[in-house]
Symmetry: D3
Subunit: 290 residues, 6 copies
């Protein structure tokens, strides 16, 4: 961690996650439960949400890399015990006396809360680069779809596993994946069959934009991209992420209108002058914190 | 047909279509007018709709393969005679006395009905895999866009032919195709020029997800994928198709909300327990009929 | 220019643009400020809008090719002086006394007007084929996203440059680009880093549908595609563009409904009969002006 | 029935409904199960749908009045037996062995089908005037919300009864009612409490547009309004209903665009000339059948 | 006209319209073709659009009143000759040889242009108060629906006349009216029957918010309301109109989001401090021009 | 507070709010800062949000009444000091060195958070009845628009005050109010002029559904309505609120589809049987907690 980085003085400690600041304005979030192949339990997605909400507003952060601890897996998805004891199993558990509607209402609250935790990554104002490596199943795909840029390694294996446990994926994959990739036929095939696919297919269909030979190189590529973004005006970068996500879900006409309203204040930033001047003077522009 | 398949006892006979059940929970629908290269007349799309509405609710069907009889064509599209005597020609026919508005209203009813017949494939609760082979023109593209997964053979030739007969395609291609493929530039080029394209281009742009060397192999691949889906929980598969199609047309936020409401009942299914148990016991899970 | 082309008799002269009619029903618009690498000043986008509004309604035009004069650049984007004296710089200029809200309202009017000029290309009833060559930065991407078909040459270099001048792109790229290409990861990477990309990447991700060895060949390919469209029924071609663009921004259901209403008049065209007859008689169909 | 009305020669007989043609181009549909206060059983909503689909396309019908047989009730809503044996009771019935998800899927199919039957009244091309009288509970409100104009008598009593039987209304009231009345506070109050309200409140909040002293006078008023519409160009009337309903659910901008596309064919009607000429010549215009 | 009003020095002369500035920051637009009861010909709606576009950006205007010259009519709507020679009549005219599709395309262009002229009033940044008086038929309703506040006199007579000339209204009434009034039943009744209605009904259903005894008093009330608005911060007033119109057409959620983006610049205005200070010091706040 | 109410055992203490449980399943929330006429400071809207989020999930609450402590005001809106020191003043404060874009981003976060606090009332699963009394300005209207049912007293005075402090209202009024009342003309008049209006106008335009002679009677009416709702099946009541709010913002078609998915689980509730049985046995149905 750079000593000049004032994040160093704050505490960034969350159970099951390592958070470091490998370069100025760059954060690295690592899922840290390697002994369980980074499988998720509820505490983890609650913490994930807390972390990204805080990174979103942290003036010392301009770009984020997300990866998993250990070599074997980014994450295998939902933890089996969680799956069989918590959310998924509870409905089919022994409490037959419980009313279907009351169970349904509880499940609704639970699913919406779970979705919100994943959506916190998408709502994070700063760009997030996910580095997939090893096993990347189920929740790995849900989570990565909420990130901005996806990288992987030659040995990454992906799967949309939910149909294999009897459910339609409900934490984001079915809503986000087809908007990210090049072929609805491919997206439906992997979601309906739960078959694994590798980085070659992921690249072919645009799910990832780069495949690297090793996890180390993939993380390095992620950090390099994050570093590139961290050098730009944070006003411009935050606006670009916001406008891209807003427009994804709306007509071009709606996108243009919102963009004009956004920029009527944002182009009043002193960053514009500084960026132009930096270019003119062939020096690196320096932008104040956001 | 599997003798244990209780579809065997029902009659599945429709003019211009062969319907068989080559494996448990798998239906195979074959367009059957090979002497006319499977060109469509009105009776055919009306029957198509009846067939897919019935398959949608049939408890014995969990996945469907759609192909054409004969080697030369999946379908050449609208039958020329139909085109020149029916819908398309009538407006330009001799009845000059007819009022434009009244003709327009009749055409509107006719087009909406025709669209609904094709949309019946999309609305079918169970996934549909189309196997393109040989000539696949006009209506072939409209129809395949309403399917979930698209396969083809090395000798398939596609074309969005409608501008060649003086009309903008109105049975679905223009609304669905660009949402399925990787390049709007490509989609517009083929729609605006009516030029043919082959399987290599179709694969490159994600229109099909697999190209097989022959029709037989493509049908086999289709049946294999259908078989894979038929082994899964039908609750999960039906939900996955529904949520993917719903989300295609709406914002991520709307998709997530609908998903939560859908799953508040669906994850109460006993299939979740059976799927988890099957996985744990390393046996094939067995799911009751939907 | 063909002497039979009655455009010859009208004046098509606009500052900074060359407009020619190299084939029947085909217009070629060339951005013409090569000494400044076709960089845009305000007069240019105002003229662009006037030109495309006029081409949209001109009965003698059925397809349009757009390219840049000179070998070095399609366009380098916004002119530096414009950027530092006009829109972008003014907010950060010395007039500190000016009220933020009043500046914002002026900027809103300015941005909306600028957007409308680019959108004029999308709203043009006739298809537009953009031929990218050389440097194609910033506004080059905004502008090309409003075209229907994109071609480039092996030496074209693209970049979404706006973050490099401290702003989120606001003339269309962020709203249109992700709907045109195969990978949201790629789209976000190039928009968030402003890094250049070449024709190979542009082709891989479907941004362009053909890459040609030279500018001359790319323009020739553009004219050939335009010629192909110009031979078709203009009723069918105009409808196809309209319905593709309408459906891009709406659900399949909305697309189908609008299509039915559109075609309830359009298929009453005599072009349908002429197109069918031409096909039958193996001759080129001749369609009257639109 | 007018002897000149060629509906006389067709059979318009449906169980539980009386259908008459009291004036040229005017149909009167009467719910006919007075001995049960016109309470609805499944056969009735299926027939309702068949009737309105047919009226929609019948060239001899231009406006429709809907009322109930007998003096005591327009309809008391769902029949109690149906409620306790069919849709509503089945989920809470003894079949505890049935899977929640499978029940849910059957219920979904059932509710969608039921909704479609009521929506058939809204989709009917011709305007529908509902005449409420006596008890008008539950389904009476759902059904009336799908009509175009609502009349009632001084003794009509309304109630959105569904919460009293433990469900949120699902056949249309909750989606349509607030778009029809003047106060969301009122709409929520009656839906959340199930309290009855009378014609004075219905008029105050715009649910009905006229209150008449008796059923006979209300039916007469309905027929008078229907007669007025039946004298107009059917092209204009059908278009007006379509555009009003389309615009209700969309932005003004979408409404205007669809309107322009609709009218680009419809104003080509000879009815425009005939209507203008009739006005000029101070005679009743005569329009051919639609 | 106030001599202190610097509009006095500019020329505000448009055929068929009187434009005056009766108070500071208040404009009064009067339709001026009283000898024809202010019936509209094409030149008039083109000028209307030019006027409101200019008022929208004029720093000296903060609120606008719209009325008609003469006592007999606000406007009787489209001019009869225009109706029989121009838009409406042309389709039914003698040129039977013209292609339906080509006519349709011309009509589409024409209707969209006409709609845009009326929408210019809605898009005008400053609030517009329409004062209805006397005959207010057809286009009078279309036009008033695009205004913000509607007043009338006790002798005003309204009618949605379009079905009486064989068309569905296409310049805005059908898209806007039901969003403005309290009863969809009422809105449909007047649109489907073309029957006149008076100010009492207009007030009951919320179409107008005040009815005054005479035209003079109604104009005075309009000017008083305009004067009230003209005293407020123009930043606040322009924002309020924009956000009300934006939200009318979208979900509450979309409205809130756009509002936040709008106000992130607008509340940085010095008007906030001046308004608070004015209140504190019990003096009239003075706001600089927008 | 009823001793049988198990809320008694939990602590419901929040600064500036009194929370009591005057009847079974009924909560009463009272804004409690009467010495400042219940003017809001930031702590209050944060607490408001915490309270309604908790009531939303509390099994002991089925309906809620919201009123203000003291006789003089429901609330006068934003506290003057907050307005001049916090959100609104800060942008125009002395810190001229701060960048417009950075201020804008902070304001965006702040406004969104503030909006979310008010929206918590709308998102609360249980119905909320607001009782307006005395001065009800600014935030009073924003807040009441997020409630389900609005009551007032004969001496209540309302105003949408925001333009008087130089801003367009941004906490909800502009997005919600026009969807709640009967006249867009009225809504715009009060929002654009900030003029006060009384209960008579509020009732006429449907903003409130009942006006009571005194605060005591209005609170009693609120509690009576809440009591009525609290007797119904909570499954039905919660569903009715959800479906009404969902449908308000979407097309009828979308509303119906969501309704079907909602009810496919909810009508499986045992409440349906209990409600029917209670009706049959002429006894009060008893429903278990949600």
């Amino acid at each position: 961690m750079s000593p000049s980085n004032n994040q160093a003085e704050e505490k960034w400690e969350y159970e099951y996650f390592n958070i470091t600041f490998p370069a100025e304005y760059v954060a690295h979030v690592e899922i840290n439960r390697p002994e369980k192949l980074n499988a998720f339990i509820e505490k983890m997605w609650l913490n994930l949400s807390l972390i990204f909400n805080r990174l979103s507003h942290s003036p010392s952060v301009r770009a984020i890399v997300l990866s998993g601890a250990g070599d074997r897996a980014f994450t295998t998805g939902l933890d089996v015990k969680a799956a069989s004891q918590g959310l998924l199993a509870s409905p089919s558990s022994g409490k037959q006396q419980e009313d279907v509607a009351r169970k349904a209402n509880n499940l609704r609250r639970h699913i919406l809360e779970f979705q919100d935790c994943i959506t916190a990554v998408e709502k994070c104002e700063k760009p997030v680069i996910v580095v997939y490596h090893g096993i990347s199943y189920g929740l790995a795909v849900d989570l990565g779809c909420a990130c901005d840029i996806r990288l992987s390694t030659t040995t990454t294996t992906f799967a949309v596993k939910e149909v294999d446990i009897g459910i339609a994926a409900d934490i984001g994959t079915l809503s986000r994946l087809p908007k990210l990739v090049s072929s609805f036929s491919f997206a439906k095939e992997i979601a309906l069959t739960a078959r694994p696919f590798d980085s070659a297919e992921a690249l072919q269909h645009g799910f990832v934009s780069h495949v690297l030979p090793s996890k180390a190189e993939a993380v390095a590529k992620g950090l390099q991209l994050a570093g590139l973004m961290a050098e730009k005006s944070p006003v411009a970068v935050v606006g670009t992420k916001e406008l891209l996500n807003y427009s994804r879900d709306r007509s071009v006409e709606e996108g243009l209108r919102y963009t004009a309203i956004w920029n009527m204040s944002m182009v009043q930033s002193s960053d514009v002058g500084e960026a132009l001047l930096g270019g003119l003077e062939k020096r690196k522009s320096v932008f104040s914190k956001l």
